[in-house]
Symmetry: C2
Subunit: 500 residues, 2 copies
């Protein structure tokens, strides 16, 4: 196992550089003064270049081959065998990308980001269109360099959701759409009006901060191995399982924004804190896919965090923190308010039911752009038409339409679908947990989530990045990723709320 050990050491070095880059990004989004931007861009570019050079060095390829021989006789589940498998997979992928393409992508997206900000501010798609055109061209080039069997989008999707194919996502999303549209329509036709005015008062930010901290602690997020800081767009980052940081955004008039962001990022954070320490600084030290990561954030944010029992337990405490704002409100009213379904233009503000329609729309557009069926120039019209068709909503302008998301300007194509894959998995995992732990339903009804976390830790987090997503899902659920459980969950939850 001499080469295996050498490989591990070399990969640990790369992992350290990646963790360091993550610290730089965390700092950039939380505390960096404005003046720091230029220097930080140089520092990040240098680190990325070094990590790429170190990981794609020919000696790494040779060590992977040698270590492959050394681990060949081990069972497939052996960690050593898994480590070499995962390293090979990533090495093959990274060495396919020519460094000049990586550099052109980096240069274009760093300029594109500024252009996108200007275009969004001016609500003018024509400012962004030329650079988006260029990015799409580079993405196609990237997909072709990575290789695929006829569908270039497969190669991009694989970067975020390994081994998932476009055709599978398409089939799943078609099924989802078929189930979602009648639910949204029934809700709209129900005539039920949900009271939310009490949420639109001023909620002191320091108290929101303290309450979200309390929530995070209660669901098991460990503050001796993490922190919560303020940022413009909440995210979670990890430098090791013992230093996992969540961020949040506190606005005086949107307390539920921070509450559900805390549960969402907390879900990501629990996953990262639950990864085995022994996998740290190895290719097994990562969550296997973004869809799996999102399964945990959605589970805590929506399946647990927007459940009736959760608020039966937590509402009295919230009312203690904000007695004036919540005078006359009870747990049931609050539960209904945080589950109001309303078609709206902005993805990140969408409810649990309509959210996935925003993703379906983006997936269709991305696939079309990458396989050439759609032109960048036609995007605004297509966006508008699909918004009307899927959500019955007409965007007022490009800023709340096609320009709303940062992702494309950053070169993330193939990323959006993972949000919905995560929502589906969240429900499947939750139901699996209920089946496997007989007392769990009762615990959750009493507001106690420790048993659920224990199950997630044991069945999901403890596996780290040993398996491909499809294998891990099979190991946990005994089956495949499916849309039906999610649709059933929505029907069961929203029928009583909307009387449908």
């Amino acid at each position: 196992m001499e080469h295996y050990q050498q490989l591990k050491e070399r990969l640990a070095e790369v992992a350290d550089i990646e963790a360091t880059a993550a610290v730089l990004v965390w700092d950039m989004r939380t505390y960096m003064p404005p003046g720091g931007a230029e220097g930080r861009a140089e520092q990040l570019a240098t680190l990325e270049k070094i990590a790429h050079q170190k990981f794609t060095a020919p000696e790494i390829g040779e060590l992977i081959e040698e270590a492959g021989l050394e681990t060949a006789s081990l069972p497939e589940e052996a960690e050593e065998a898994a480590l070499v498998r995962m390293a090979r997979r990533e090495y093959d992928q990274q060495t396919k990308l020519p460094s000049d393409l990586v550099e052109r992508l980096a240069r274009t997206t760093s300029l594109a980001n500024q252009t996108w900000v200007k275009a969004k501010t001016a609500a003018d798609f024509s400012l962004f269109a030329p650079v988006l055109q260029e990015i799409v061209g580079l993405q196609i080039e990237k997909a072709n360099a990575l290789g695929h069997r006829g569908c270039p989008y497969d190669a991009l999707l694989d970067l975020y959701e390994p081994e998932m194919e476009t055709s599978q996502v398409r089939a799943l999303f078609a099924q989802l759409r078929e189930g979602l549209v009648p639910i949204v329509r029934a809700i709209a036709d129900s005539g039920t009006r949900i009271e939310t005015a009490f949420l639109e008062q001023e909620y002191e930010i320091a108290k929101q901060e303290a309450f979200t901290r309390e929530l995070l602690q209660a669901i098991g997020y460990d503050f001796t191995r993490g922190r919560q800081d303020a940022t413009a767009h909440p995210f979670t980052t990890s430098f090791s399982p013992s230093d996992v940081r969540v961020t949040n955004r506190f606005l005086p008039n949107r307390p539920t924004g921070a509450i559900f962001a805390a549960l969402h990022e907390g879900g990501h954070g629990l996953y990262e804190q639950g990864l085995p320490e022994r996998f740290q600084r190895t290719p097994l030290g990562h969550v296997p896919s973004l869809g799996l990561h999102e399964s945990q954030s959605r589970l805590w944010e929506n399946v647990v965090g927007r459940s009736r029992s959760f608020w039966e337990y937590w509402f009295p405490r919230l009312a203690e923190v904000f007695p004036e704002q919540l005078a006359g409100v009870d747990a049931e009213l609050f539960y209904r308010a945080v589950n109001r379904v309303i078609p709206s233009p902005i993805r990140i503000q969408a409810d649990e039911v309509t959210y996935n329609l925003h993703i379906l729309l983006r997936f269709e557009i991305e696939v079309g752009l990458i396989d050439g069926a759609l032109k960048v120039a036609d995007l605004p019209e297509i966006w508008k038409a699909r918004m009307e068709e899927f959500l019955g909503y007409t965007p007022r302008d490009h800023a709340e339409g096609v320009l709303q998301d940062i992702h494309w300007s950053e070169g993330y194509f193939g990323y959006f679908p993972t949000y919905t894959l995560g929502s589906l998995l969240a429900v499947q995992f939750y139901q699996q947990a209920l089946q496997e732990r007989p007392g769990l339903r009762g615990e959750l009804e009493g507001g106690q989530t420790a048993g659920l976390l224990a199950w997630l830790r044991e069945r999901i987090h403890a596996e780290g990045g040993k398996y491909l997503p499809v294998e891990l899902v099979r190991r946990i659920t005994g089956g495949e990723l499916e849309a039906a459980p999610f649709l059933a969950y929505l029907k069961e939850k929203y029928s009583p709320i909307y009387g449908i």
Copy 2:
């Protein structure tokens, strides 16, 4: 200049890695959760190793030679010539250090720091002794690798104060001690009692924070290119002249702690923010020595910040912020209180007069540990004996004795003397500024410091790291580093305060 350009690019990459390591350290001392320590040690060790490998690569040596030829015909003051000179000096030094020693140093010190915190909290030297022993061993190894002419401490001192020798420091310190001891004695014998009880009340931390921010802004520290955060042991760090961060420590019962720490770190911060942008990511982008760095912090903290005129201007504002605590106090009383001379156990709380005695003690101990005359196990006893001899004070325990400073746990040997060198330079520079700017005395008497900063910017900061300290001091003052101006300054200032 082709090779010169190539050299610059390679050095820029190394500078990026060093800036990144500085971000990791800043985070470690401000916001990192306790769990992060172990991973952070690995990340820092990896970064140090990569920076060292990249900087000491044989191609860098070749590029330095080639660039040396390309710049040979330029005048000595030319920036290109200076850059190559400084790169060569550092390259010669670094190539003497084996990578594995650099890595062991980084890993040991980053873990040692946590051990030191525990030992200090428990006031138990035995917890820290084994790791300090290890660090001393590594320092001796380092000194021998760097090379010296019989005095290993020279090699360590040179890292912080280039070209300064132990024998010079010893001579200067002997002169200083000879001048200081009678002043301290005269003050003790004067019978003058200075009232400080009003400083020992509760001063709200949020208000201290706001006031120190106001002070920093007033002396010219730019918050769009910096920040102030809380930490256990205040320090300043810089990732570029546009991202320079100071830290402070706020204790409810020690408002002057935070005030003078702000001025001290602010002095460092002004220097870093004043370095030319064009030197960034080059060997000229650094302050030439720690002594020079400290000249700026001491100048702002003591020479300006503890002057009568400064508090004639600032006291009314401070009294506005803390009206109850400062009722019945005036500028003169406050000025005297912040200049009380009293032998005390803690270096960072020492007054301007006795402070340097703390340094003299550490210098003696460090030289003894490195040349083998002293043993780690004997440190607590030696510390106690020297404290009694130099300051007439017996430390109550190890926390206020030998464990008080963070430096050794971080592997800084050869660093302490620079504090005193800086104190001496601060007075020399201040007097030079008064000579060169005729209106300056009047401005300072009116509490206006912008003219002083302009002089420091033009004569010191703008030179960046172009010159060795001894050359820069000569260019500024026309002479050498001396103890006499500092001793004269103390006598002039403290005679009226203590009637001596």
